[in-house]
């Protein structure tokens, strides 16, 4: 019975906030401290997951779900693939020199002092939240992305026309298309110029010397190899 009373006295929002905040910050520091790139990836996953929990606690359930799906489910899988593709033994752990670490510590401490001072500088930000329960945000966000606002203006906001997000939505969609094409182009498998192809091209070149149609994929190396500096 007393256990029930104690449980009722706990403010679960505050408790969960501190839990997720400590997890997010602790694993973020873990990303910095760790030298092993695989561990860094794991800590980053946990930090971003805990941040999604913070988003849920702040009432942004749609953004929290997107954080889990896009960041943790997509971007981090991409990063882990990158880690696996490049994880040759000497590159798994690349140590930072101690001088760099000291310098980074000084910079981090001063930057953190500045940011914390800024975070506590405005009196209205320090007042505890009134606990006004948010409306579900998925529908207002989705409709705002096609240019129509159906959400109530937040309390205290200045009156006036609020713009939708159709243009940024279009820009981002074209941006994603360009990025898709560009990333596929950059990361495509190259045709390898093997020794065999160079030899074939060189023999063809020596057979028909003046006008020659070398196979396209071996042209550069064949001309360099067979004709040397004469061209």
């Amino acid at each position: 019975m007393t256990g029930c009373l104690m449980l009722a006295a706990v403010n679960f929002h505050t408790l969960l906030f501190y839990l997720f905040a400590i997890l997010a910050c602790g694993f973020a520091v873990g990303v910095v401290v760790a030298d092993n790139v695989v561990r860094m990836a794991l800590y980053l996953v946990l930090s971003l997951g805990a941040t999604a929990g913070l988003f849920f606690l702040a009432g942004a359930e749609f953004i929290g779900a997107m954080q889990l799906m896009i960041y943790v489910g997509g971007t981090l899988v991409l990063l882990v693939f990158g880690v696996m593709l490049t994880a040759q033994a000497p590159f798994v752990t690349i140590k930072t020199s101690p001088g760099d670490r000291v310098l980074a510590g000084i910079v981090a401490a001063s930057l953190l002092a500045l940011l914390l001072q800024a975070a506590f500088s405005v009196e209205a930000w320090r007042r505890p939240g009134l606990g006004e329960v948010a409306q579900p945000a998925a529908t207002p966000i989705g409709v705002a992305l096609v240019g129509i606002r159906v959400d109530e203006p937040p309390a205290g906001a200045p009156p006036g026309v609020r713009s939708g997000y159709l243009l940024p939505f279009e820009i981002v969609s074209v941006h994603l298309l360009v990025v898709l094409v560009g990333a596929a182009y950059l990361a495509r498998a190259k045709r390898r110029r093997t020794q065999r192809a160079i030899e074939v091209a060189a023999s063809v070149q020596s057979l028909v010397e003046p006008v020659v149609e070398v196979p396209r994929q071996a042209r550069g190396s064949a001309s360099a190899l067979a004709t040397g500096g004469t061209r």
């Binding site: 990303v31 749609f62 690349i94 760099d100 910079v107 205290g156 898709l180 990333a183 950059l186």
Partner: protein, 128 residues
């Protein structure tokens, strides 16, 4: 629940409430720590993928701030909330971070193919 919280505030005054309830400033502190960790990660790591992870942390710290300012739940007495706008901006940040990670990973793989290393200190071909 909120009634109980209100009673607590009324009895104990603002000092108790500030110690108990979560405010926007709490979220700003979390965002500041994530941001600083990301900056240090970008500056210190010699692995190109570590630099990428630092960028993700920085963007995530910025997102925490956006969500905190957008939340009606955390809005204190007399403060103004961003409302839906902050959440939409956070969504755009997540999308652009995904796009940026894809391109940066492609560049890293290209660098690895050409130089057989992911150490960013070795990318000094342009040094005069």
């Amino acid at each position: 629940m909120s009634g109980m919280l209100g009673a607590g505030v009324a009895i104990a005054g603002p000092a108790f409430a500030a110690a108990d309830g979560v405010s926007v400033a709490h979220y700003l502190v979390v965002g500041a720590i994530l941001f600083t960790a990301g900056i240090v990660c970008m500056a210190v790591k010699r692995n190109a993928l570590g630099v990428l992870m630092g960028i993700e942390l920085v963007l995530n710290g910025a997102n925490v701030n956006f969500i905190a300012f957008a939340s009606p739940y955390l809005r204190g007495q007399g403060a103004v909330s961003l409302g839906i706008d902050g959440q939409v901006i956070a969504l755009f940040v997540i999308l652009l971070a995904a796009a940026e990670a894809a391109v940066a990973l492609a560049i890293t793989l290209n660098f690895y193919n050409n130089h057989s290393t992911v150490d960013v200190d070795r990318a000094d071909d342009l040094k005069g």
